[in-house]
């Protein structure tokens, strides 16, 4: 009898433990808020994770692009100014709430845009951004392979040729295969690639400084300044870096929810994201200007000679694949989280493949995107800066830093975040206003701007306009049940 009871007791404990593990796994996926006791990252763990995300090959690309507009001295200033403002505003909009409540970023977004509105924002901000970066990184991989082949054969590289396209298609398909196998393989690559990229950056910096002193480098001119007005070129460089800073908006909130509290969710972004991204961009900028070539797959072969060049290109190709796997995995996990039942019903590998079709199309039909990738990056800032403004206005000024966990995770159709059929027209109008303000001040496609751009940039007014519109319209019109549960004043 005693034996029977104790066996029954053990079975009950085992079932409870299994259920607790299932609940925790579901919370980690974002279905529920993570409790403070379930969150593992302290200050340094989050700093390391952030740095690993920020130190990627795109930092070389952005740094090289800055070298087109301004010389190294102005470029370093633009990198620091643009990134610190972009990262601070993005971190303010996304990390204090994740750090306080352990909530998934796009679940929290229901309070700003409604449960259907948050899906639109996800598609606009995450899906489009990820598809674009997948195509650009695949082309960078293709160019590395083309450069490798040319270096080995002693021929001239053809960065837009058929070899590049085939290698880029191969990169997307291999990334699809890796991600389809699950997150374990990606984690392994991350542990190897991030520290190795830091070493690569230091080696590249050393090689550049062997050729020219730092003082000489600072005096060098820009590669291809688009305007005669140097102030305008400088502000465009700042704007590209603001865009780089704001481009973390879709990602850092969900990383920050794994941290123990608000402080550890916020401050490591300054050290990790800002510090690491700025370092990588500065190396890319100095190399581009010193060697007269903004494309890292070309300057690496010029600076390092054939043997180190081959190693560096091989590594860049490998690192690109890792970055591609990271962003593809994160986006699809989120897509399933915000998606409808029919989206969630599609198998993991099929939805991954469907997602890869547009990047494949871009590689085949629009390879010119690589050289103008910063145009695509700046377009994304028209959305991300507005999203940051709305997030700050909503969480800090309208809600007084309080979110209702019960309503955010409960049934939405009858909850306080149903707004208008699941869409908050105020949040969406504010987003549209931020976008319009951005494009009215600065057109990323043509680089045309109004005079105010030189004093204000475009991302900062877009962020402020979206935040103000969201605040004022919410104060005026968001009343009654189902309109966001804003505290009364």
């Amino acid at each position: 009898m005693t034996d029977h009871v104790s066996r029954g007791g053990f079975a009950a404990i085992e079932t409870e433990q299994e259920e607790a593990a299932r609940n925790r796994a579901a919370a980690e996926r974002g279905d529920a808020p993570l409790l403070p006791s379930e969150r593992l990252w302290g200050f340094w763990e989050f700093t390391y994770a952030n740095s690993a995300l920020a130190i990627a090959t795109w930092a070389f690309l952005i740094g090289g692009a800055i070298g087109l507009f301004v010389g190294p001295k102005e470029g370093i200033a633009a990198i620091v100014i643009g990134n610190i403002v972009g990262v601070v505003l993005t971190a303010l909009a996304t990390t204090p709430l994740s750090g306080r409540y352990g909530i998934e970023q796009f679940v929290a977004l229901r309070s700003q845009f409604g449960y259907n509105g948050s899906r639109i924002v996800y598609v606009l901000a995450v899906v489009v951004l990820t598809m674009g970066w997948l195509a650009v990184l695949a082309m960078m991989f293709g160019r590395s392979i083309d450069g490798l082949a040319a270096l080995s054969a002693g021929e001239a590289a053809n960065p837009t040729g058929i070899k590049m396209v085939i290698a880029a298609i191969g990169a997307i398909l291999v990334t699809w295969f890796i991600v389809a196998k699950g997150p374990t393989s990606i984690k392994f690559f991350n542990m190897v690639v991030s520290p190795a990229l830091v070493i690569l950056m230091i080696v590249m910096l050393y090689l550049i400084l062997q050729q020219r002193s730092f003082a000489e480098l600072l005096e060098m001119p820009a590669l291809a300044p688009p305007f005669e007005d140097n102030t305008l070129n400088f502000i465009i460089a700042v704007e590209v870096n603001l865009a780089a800073g704001f481009s973390w908006w879709p990602y850092i909130g969900n990383l920050a929810r794994l941290t123990k509290n608000e402080r550890t969710a916020f401050w490591p972004n300054i050290l990790g994201i800002f510090g690491a991204a700025a370092l990588g961009e500065i190396v890319g900028l100095l190399a581009a200007v010193a060697l007269g070539e903004s494309d890292p797959t070309i300057w690496m072969t010029k600076i390092a000679g054939p043997i180190i060049g081959i190693i560096a290109l091989l590594f860049v190709a490998f690192a690109n694949m890792t970055s591609m796997a990271n962003i593809l995995y994160t986006s699809i996990v989120g897509l399933r989280q915000v998606g409808t039942a029919s989206v969630r019903a599609i198998s993991w590998s099929t939805i991954l493949f469907l997602f890869c079709l547009i990047p494949l199309g871009l590689v085949i039909f629009y390879p010119q995107m690589y050289d103008g990738f910063f145009i695509f990056l700046v377009w994304t800032s028209a959305l991300n800066s507005a999203l940051a403004g709305i997030g700050i206005a909503d969480y800090f000024f309208l809600r007084g830093q309080k979110l209702d966990m019960r309503s955010l995770h409960g049934p939405q159709e009858s909850g306080p975040y149903r707004f208008w059929a699941g869409f908050n027209p105020i949040g969406l109008a504010a987003l549209a206003m931020g976008f319009i303000v951005y494009v009215a001040i600065f057109n990323p496609q043509t680089l045309a701007s109004i005079p105010a751009f030189k004093y204000l940039t475009a991302s900062v007014p877009s962020c402020v306009a979206a935040g103000v519109v969201h605040y004022v319209l919410t104060r005026l019109f968001a009343r009654g049940a189902g309109w966001g549960n804003y505290p009364r004043r």
């Binding site: 609940n23 102005e74 200033a77 620091v80 100014i81 509290n261 608000e262 402080r263 966990m405």
Partner: protein
Amino acid sequence: METDIAWQKELERRARIYEDIEAGGRFEGVMTTLDYAGMAALTLVLVVGFWIWGA
């Protein structure tokens, strides 16, 4: 159905934990005025300093 009810209970439990923490003012590591002032000062110093140096 049973799983759904169990999950709703779990969500309820987690929400209640946060409500208790909030009601007791027991959030740890909260960002204070000092944090926000430090963040604003750091941003301002970097922007103004690098503007003067580089622009």
